[in-house]
């Protein structure tokens, strides 16, 4: 059963086409086998051990029994042999008595032999002469050493028979006085006397051993004791006794018992082949082995059943799991049991059900995600296309300023990028009643050049209503080779104002879908912006041109005005001065005062005109500048001298703080003087009492020049626009100081690459500071 299950599993496993899917299931075939083997081992090993020990014990017992039996037998045999031997010895002693009494020795020997058939021969030997006196039976020869028999009279001795060299004959010697009566014994009768082996089975052998350890037999000398493996095993000396196991005559294992008979002078061995007595043990062993096999078979059968009971649900579980691994989540384990496997199956089924639910929702999710991804992909494809074309349109829009060229390029671009039959751009004219063809990928208008807005044409409709429209029909354009499957008009709108229409024709019926429309709308928006940009650019260019013209006009105007104003001022200042000098005659005090007012106002006006002219020149960037190495000390001296003159009538103290040596400057010296002077004049103007301080300091790479006064200070709101044009103009009753001084200074300083600022506190004073780079300012031409 288990084998069938294993075979089934193997068949199942090997029939699988996708090995990796079942790679973890390689263990499946081994489970039943493992269990079966384990069961069999559990059954057979203890039984085998039991059988082995039982057999061993039985054998040992039978050996012991045999040993003691052999010992008993050998004692009995010694008794038998002794009795038999003593009877023969008695016969000899009787014969000897008769011979002593003078009976004829020859006759006596014959008579004795006749009486005792055990004697095969009798010999009377005279020991002193060493001669045979009488003999009967086996003829005695001189070769027989009767002396050894004499030395051992009364014992069983073996003599070499005169007949052949190999034959030994047992003999008995009876000695009296100088005579020795030797009886040669019959082997057959001797052996008969000892052959009876009661209690021993077939094959039992009795052997006689000489004192020298030589086994003797009728056939002659048997194995010498020294060479016999068995002999030393139990012969603890010729006079010992014992039992031993050893390989017998034919190599068959035998057991033998040995006993030394001191009376006879020989040892007796009784041997029994071991197998003869082991039969019952072997029978028992066979029985045990048979029982073991039977038990093993039964165990195997039971094990198979149990294994099947265990493995079948596991295999079912495994198979189900395998199916599930393949993706078939509808599998269920058909096991209804109450044990742990049943619990496992229920849990497994539950798990499978959960997996099924999870997997189901996962599949749904995956499908959903995939759909989303595809959608996103499609969108991103459109997006990329739109982006690239938009980028191209943007590039064109930014690189091409001319409207015509721009539209031409864009139309061609769109026509080519979307592989359209044509892409055209129409723009509304000034009246807004006509859409006029401007550019197209075909190069020429495919419709009328001018289309009526709100007319029957697609372009006209879209131009009127501002919504994009698609027309799908089999429209065969006259004179065109390929049919137009669909056409679309997209309004070019900017801030809800319709500028024109983008008109597209395609040969593919599937074009101008929703996604396409979005792309084209975006493009249309961009084109609208580009059109607007181009138009704005045109306007801007025109404006700049006009502004430039205006600047020139303004500059010219200022120069002319300045000139025109100077001419009357020439008379006002000149003649008033002439009169003040009394060249025209003496003046009254009142006349003088009036004339001075006229003269001063004229001078002031002149100053204003000069400043205005200069300021405008600075603004226009036409004021000349030139840089050179500046002698700062000289400039400062000049400025201080001039300022000293200005404060002559005021209680103002002038101080100057210049590092020695003075910083070297490479700039426009005239302009520098102008600025310092303007700041000093300004300070003088607003300081009636106190001090004015001119300070020069060199910071890294720049010279910082500041003019501090203790004047009225400047309100915060004024500070912001103090450098603006005419910011501090207050009617200007100061001598010659125009209101443009600070404004001019700011522009000059900036032109020289520096900065100017003011710090002020009302009632305390103001500090005007400006910086100039020590190096030539960029763009400032060096004075040759």
């Amino acid at each position: 059963m288990a084998e069938r299950a294993i075979r089934a599993i193997k068949t199942y496993l090997f029939s699988q086409s996708s090995p990796q899917a079942f790679a973890p299931l390689g263990m499946r075939g081994g489970l039943g086998k493992t269990l079966l083997i384990a069961f069999l081992l559990l059954a057979i090993v203890p039984l085998s051990l039991l059988a082995f020990f039982t057999y061993h014990q039985i054998e040992r017992d039978s050996q012991a029994r045999l040993g003691s039996l052999l010992e008993d037998v050998v004692v009995l045999k010694e008794g038998d042999l002794r009795a038999w031997f003593e009877a023969r010895e008695r016969a000899l002693s009787l014969a000897a008595v008769a011979l002593e009494e003078g009976v004829d020795s020859g006759q006596m020997l014959v008579q004795t032999q006749a009486l005792e058939p055990a004697f095969v021969g009798l010999t009377l030997v005279g020991l002193s002469q060493g001669t045979t006196i009488a003999s009967t039976g086996v003829p005695a020869t001189g070769a027989v050493d009767w002396r050894s028999v004499g030395d051992n009279h009364g014992k069983l001795v073996f003599v070499r028979a005169p007949g052949g060299p190999g034959e030994l004959l047992p003999a008995i010697g009876y000695r009296w006085d100088d005579r020795l009566l030797v009886g040669l014994l019959s082997w057959d009768l001797l052996e008969r006397a000892i052959s009876a082996s009661p209690g021993l089975g077939e094959g039992a052998t009795t052997r006689l051993v000489t004192e020298e350890g030589q086994i003797v037999s009728q056939a002659g000398q048997f194995l010498p004791s020294a060479e016999a493996g068995w002999a030393p095993g139990f012969l603890s000396g010729p006079h010992g006794q014992g039992v031993a196991r050893y390989p017998g005559e034919d190599g068959i294992p035998v057991m033998g018992a040995y006993l030394w008979s001191p009376r006879l002078g020989v040892g007796i061995i009784v041997e029994q082949p071991r197998n003869a007595l082991a039969a019952p043990a072997e029978n028992l062993t066979a029985l045990v082995i048979g029982a073991t096999l039977v038990v093993a078979l039964m165990t195997a059968a039971i094990a198979a059943v149990v294994t099947r009971r265990i493995t079948r649900p596991i295999i079912q579980l495994t198979e189900t799991a395998a199916w599930m691994a393949r993706g078939d989540l509808n599998q269920r384990v058909p096991i209804v049991r109450k044990d742990e496997i049943g619990v496992l199956a229920r849990v497994f089924n539950h798990m499978a059900a959960e997996l099924r639910v999870l997997y189901g929702s996962l599949e749904a999710k995956v499908a959903e995600r995939t759909a989303q991804l595809e959608e996103a992909n499609r969108n991103s494809r459109y997006y990329i296309m739109q982006l690239s074309i938009s980028a191209e349109v943007a590039r064109v829009a930014s690189s091409i300023r001319e409207l015509d060229q721009l539209l031409d390029t864009v139309a061609t671009l769109i026509g080519r990028a979307f592989e359209l039959k044509s892409a055209s751009i129409y723009l509304l004219d000034e009246t807004g009643r006509r859409a006029v063809w401007q550019a197209g990928s075909a190069g020429v208008p495919l419709t009328d050049r001018e289309l009526q807005v709100d007319g029957p044409s697609l372009v006209g409709q879209v131009a009127a209503h501002g919504d994009r429209r698609v027309l799908r029909q089999d429209l065969h354009q006259e004179g065109s080779a390929a049919p137009v499957a669909c056409e679309m008009a997209v309004p070019l709108c900017l801030r809800e104002q319709i500028l024109g229409v983008l008109y597209l024709q395609s040969e593919r019926p599937e074009d101008f879908g929703d996604d396409d429309q979005l792309v084209y709308r975006s493009l249309a928006d961009q084109i609208a912006i580009a059109i607007e940009n181009a138009r704005v650019y045109g306007l801007e260019r025109e404006t700049i041109h006009r502004l430039r013209e205006l600047d020139e006009i303004q500059a010219e105007f200022l120069v002319n005005m300045s000139h025109a104003l100077r001419t009357p001022l020439n008379s006002i200042i000149g003649f008033s001065r002439v009169m003040l000098k009394e060249l025209d005659g003496p003046l009254s005090d009142l006349q003088r005062a009036d004339l001075e007012t006229i003269h001063d106002s004229g001078r002031q006006l002149l100053g204003l005109i000069n400043d205005m002219l200069e300021l405008s020149q600075l603004e226009l960037g036409v004021a000349p500048f030139s840089a050179s190495e500046v002698d700062l000390e000289e400039i400062l001296e000049g400025v201080m001298a001039t300022t000293q003159a200005l404060v002559r009538n005021k209680r103002v103290r002038l101080t100057m703080d210049v590092p020695v040596p003075a910083p070297s400057l490479f700039t426009d010296g005239q302009r520098l003087r102008q600025v310092i002077l303007a700041l000093m004049s300004n300070a003088v103007k607003y300081t009636d009492e106190g001090s004015i301080r001119l300070q020069i300091a060199e910071t890294d790479g720049a010279v910082k020049i500041s003019v501090s006064d203790t004047g009225a200070g400047i309100p915060r709101v004024e500070r912001e626009r103090i450098f603006a044009n005419g910011g501090q103009e207050e009617g200007g009753d100061g001598a010659g100081g125009g209101g443009f001084g600070l404004a001019i200074s700011k522009r000059v300083v900036e032109r020289l690459g520096g900065e100017i600022w003011v710090e002020s506190e009302e009632g305390v004073g103001s500090t005007f500071t400006f910086t100039l780079p020590c190096d030539p300012a960029a763009g400032l031409p060096a004075r040759g």
């Binding site: 120069v559 000139h563 100077r566 200042i573 000149g574 003649f575």
Partner: protein, 137 residues
């Protein structure tokens, strides 16, 4: 050159009669007796010699109708009769550019308008004595 201002002949080329009047007045205060007035360069060339035996100084306005002072100067310089005549630009165009140009084309002086009445006599004397006077006002 005549240092006696009474013998000096001065020609004033000026399109404004008031400017001429001022200059003429200042010159007369200085003692100059011969002062002629012309409105344009053309008139100078056409009539100058007919009226004056010689011209020592010409006060030439730059901003003139028809041709400007530079052109007039160029023609005066071409004319041998004015070889020794000092020609001074008297102009309301007081830009550096104009001053530089005046120097470059060979004026003997540059007086800015409005005329500085206080400085004028000295400037004229210096010019007549051969100095170059450049006054931007």
């Amino acid at each position: 050159m005549a240092q006696n201002l009474g013998d000096v002949n001065v020609l004033i080329v000026e399109d404004s009669v008031r400017n001429y009047a001022l200059l003429a007045r200042l010159l007369s205060f200085m003692g100059v007796k011969q002062t002629e007035w012309r409105r344009s360069g053309w008139q100078v060339l056409e009539f100058a010699r007919d009226v004056l035996p010689q011209v020592d100084l010409i006060l030439l306005d730059i901003h003139l109708p028809e041709e400007d002072g530079y052109k007039v100067l160029a023609r005066l310089r071409e004319d041998g009769r004015f070889r020794d005549t000092r020609v001074v630009a008297v102009t309301a165009d007081v830009s550096d550019v104009n001053l530089s140009r005046a120097k470059a084309v060979g004026f003997d002086g540059f007086l800015a308008k409005p005329i500085n009445v206080d400085l004028f006599p000295d400037q004229i004397r210096r010019i007549l004595s051969g100095e170059l006077v450049w006054d931007l006002g």
